[in-house]
C-alpha cells in the first residue's frame, strides 16, 4: 500500500483540535495557556500529553471535555463540534472529584444511573465489576473520606470507566499511587482500552508512563503552551513499564524534552 492510499483511507479522527488558543485573564497578568494547538486523535488511539507543570495540559483536557471553550480555534468529536460536556467523553480529573455524600459504590453508580436502558441490577453488576478491577471490592460501602489518596484515584478511575465512554480524558490519574498498584493499573488500562477500543487522552509528567501507555506521545512546552514534538511508540502491547525498550525510548524523549526546555528558557 502506498503512502497515498494510507492517507486517503485514514479513518475519520475521533477527536480533532484545530488551531486552538486559550488564555486566562488574571488580576495581574494574562496567561496564554494554549497557543495555536492542533492535534488529531484517531478512534481507539491512546495519546499521552507530556510536559512540565503549567503548560496547559489540563486546559486542553477541559476543552476536549467541553467544560471550557477556546478563545479561537475549533474542537470536534466524531466530526461534531464540541459545544458542551457529553457522556461519551468522560473525564478523570487531576483532583479525584469524588462526591463525599455518596459511598464508594454510589460514586461509581453516579454515571451509570444517568445511562438509560439499564436495569438496576445491571448497573450494580457493572459497578461491582469495576470496583473489582481496581481492587476495591472490600471498600464498596466505605465513605470517601475513609480512603487513602491512591484509593480515591482508583474509585475515580472506576467511576470514569463504568459508563463505558468512547473517549477517556485522564489528567495525571496515577500520580498519587504506589508503584505496585500503578503497574497493576497500567495493565488493566491497556487491556480495557484494547478490548473496548477506547480513545484515550492521557496527561502525565512521567515520561516512562507515557511511553508505556501511549501509541503517541506529545511534548508540550509552557508559556505559551504549545506542542513541540511528537513521538510514535511502536512497541508491542501489553507493555511493561520495566521493559528495556520502554526505558530506552523514555530516556531518548527525556533528552529531547530537556533540550526543548533549555531552548524555551533561553529565548
Amino acid at each position: 500500500m502506498s503512502l497515498q492510499d494510507e492517507l486517503l483511507n485514514a479513518p475519520p479522527a475521533k477527536l480533532q483540535v484545530d488551531h486552538v488558543s486559550k488564555s486566562y485573564v488574571g488580576n495581574r497578568q494574562t496567561v496564554q495557556a494554549l497557543d495555536d494547538v492542533s492535534l488529531s486523535v484517531g478512534e481507539g488511539e491512546f495519546v499521552c500529553l507530556l510536559g512540565p507543570s503549567g503548560c496547559g495540559k489540563s486546559t486542553l483536557l477541559n476543552l476536549i471535555a467541553g467544560l471550557e471553550f477556546p478563545d479561537s480555534g475549533f474542537l470536534s468529536a466524531d466530526g461534531e463540534p464540541i459545544t458542551g460536556p457529553g457522556r461519551q467523553r468522560m473525564v478523570m480529573f487531576q483532583e479525584h472529584a469524588l462526591f463525599p455524600w455518596l459511598n464508594v459504590t454510589d460514586n461509581v453508580l453516579f454515571g451509570l444511573n444517568l445511562k438509560p436502558h439499564l436495569t438496576t441490577t445491571d448497573r450494580l453488576g457493572v459497578a461491582k465489576a469495576f470496583l473489582e478491577i481496581v481492587g476495591l471490592t472490600p471498600f464498596a460501602n466505605a465513605s470517601i473520606h475513609e480512603l487513602s489518596g491512591g484509593m480515591k484515584q482508583r474509585v475515580a478511575l472506576a467511576r470514569a470507566l463504568a459508563p463505558n465512554p468512547q473517549v477517556l480524558c485522564m489528567d495525571e490519574p496515577f500520580a498519587a499511587l504506589d508503584a505496585m498498584t500503578r503497574e497493576q493499573l497500567y495493565d488493566d488500562l491497556q487491556k480495557i482500552q484494547q478490548k473496548r477500543r477506547k480513545t484515550v487522552v492521557f496527561v502525565t509528567h512521567n515520561v516512562r508512563e507515557a511511553v508505556c501507555l501511549g501509541d503517541r506521545v506529545l511534548l508540550f512546552t509552557p508559556r505559551p503552551g504549545r506542542i513541540r514534538a511528537e513521538f510514535k511508540v511502536d512497541l508491542p502491547r501489553p507493555r511493561d513499564i520495566n521493559d528495556v525498550a520502554v526505558a530506552q525510548l523514555a530516556s531518548a524523549i527525556t533528552a529531547e524534552l530537556k533540550g526543548l526546555l533549555q531552548q524555551s528558557d533561553a529565548s
Binding site: 457522556r87 473525564v91 472529584a97 455524600w101 455518596l102 454515571g111 465513605s143 475513609e146
Partner: protein
C-alpha cells in the same frame, strides 16, 4: 461514657439538693425562688389534669407549622439568590438585613397586621426561620467546589438532576447548620410571640409563663421554663442528631 453519665447525674443531684436545702432554710424568699419540690409538684399536677400537655401540644403545632413553612420558603429562595445575580442583589440584601433583626421585633408589626390570631403567631415564627435558612442555603450552594459540578456534568447530569443529586447534597453541611439555626430562631420567636400575643385559639407554653407571672405563681413560671428548656433540647437531639451523625460518617466532619 459511663463515667460521664455518673458525673452529670451527680452534679445535677447535688445542685437540686443544695437548691432544695436552700429553699427550706429560707436562704431566699420561696415566693421568688420556688423549691425543686414545688416545681415537681406543679409539673405532676398539671400533667395529671392535662393542662401542661395540651399547652405543649398547642406550642409544638405552631412551631412545626411555622418552621416547615420557613424551610419550604427559605430553601428555594436561597437557591434563587445563589443562582441569579438579580435575586441576590434584591432578595439577598433583604435577607441579610432582616436576619440581623431579632424576631421579637416582628411582634408589634405582626399584631397590627393580623391581630391577636394564629396568623400573627405563624408570621412571627416564619420570619424567625426564613432568613437564616435562606442565607444558609445560598452560602451552601456558593461554597460547592466547582469540580463537583464539572464532574457531574461530564457524566451527563444537568438541570433538576444536578440540583437534586449534586448541588443540594453538596451543600448539606450548610443546610443542616442553617436549618438548625432556623430552629433555634423559630423556637425563640414563638416564645416571644406567645408571651405577647394572647390568642383564644389555644394556650401555649408562653401563655402559661405569662399568666404564671401575673398570678405570682413562681412554681408555674419555673416549671414552664423547665419544660421549654427540655422541649428545645429534645427536639434538637431528635431532629438534628441523625443528620449530624450522617454528616460525620460520610464527610468525616465534626459538626
Amino acid at each position: 461514657m459511663a463515667v460521664q453519665i455518673i458525673q452529670a447525674v451527680a452534679f445535677f443531684a447535688a445542685l437540686i439538693g443544695i437548691w432544695e436545702y436552700g429553699s427550706r432554710s429560707l436562704w431566699w424568699n420561696p415566693v421568688l425562688v420556688p423549691s425543686p419540690l414545688d416545681i415537681g409538684k406543679y409539673v405532676i399536677a398539671k400533667t395529671g389534669d392535662g393542662e401542661l400537655l395540651s399547652s405543649c401540644w398547642v406550642t409544638m403545632k405552631r412551631l412545626m407549622l411555622g418552621y416547615i413553612v420557613g424551610i419550604a420558603l427559605g430553601i428555594p429562595l436561597g437557591l434563587l439568590t445563589a443562582r441569579f445575580k438579580f435575586a441576590n442583589n434584591t432578595l439577598g440584601v433583604i435577607a441579610l438585613g432582616l436576619q440581623t433583626l431579632p424576631s421579637v421585633c416582628w411582634v408589634p408589626l405582626s399584631l397590627l397586621w393580623f391581630g391577636q390570631s394564629e396568623k400573627a403567631m405563624l408570621f412571627i415564627v416564619v420570619m424567625g426561620t426564613l432568613w437564616a435558612v435562606l442565607l444558609a442555603t445560598d452560602h451552601g450552594i456558593r461554597q460547592i467546589p466547582p469540580i463537583y459540578r464539572r464532574a457531574a456534568s461530564t457524566m451527563g447530569s444537568s438541570g433538576f438532576h444536578l440540583l437534586w443529586h449534586v448541588l443540594l447534597p453538596a451543600s448539606l453541611p450548610h443546610l443542616v447548620s442553617g436549618t438548625k439555626q432556623g430552629w433555634a430562631f423559630a423556637w425563640r420567636s414563638l416564645m416571644a410571640a406567645e408571651i405577647y400575643v394572647t390568642v383564644l385559639t389555644g394556650y401555649g407554653l408562653g401563655h402559661l409563663l405569662h399568666y404564671g407571672r401575673e398570678l405570682h405563681a413562681m412554681d408555674q413560671v419555673a416549671a414552664v421554663m423547665l419544660v421549654i428548656l427540655l422541649i428545645g433540647f429534645a427536639a434538637d437531639k431528635a431532629i438534628f442528631t441523625p443528620w449530624e451523625r450522617f454528616l460525620r460518617r460520610r464527610w468525616g466532619l465534626s459538626v
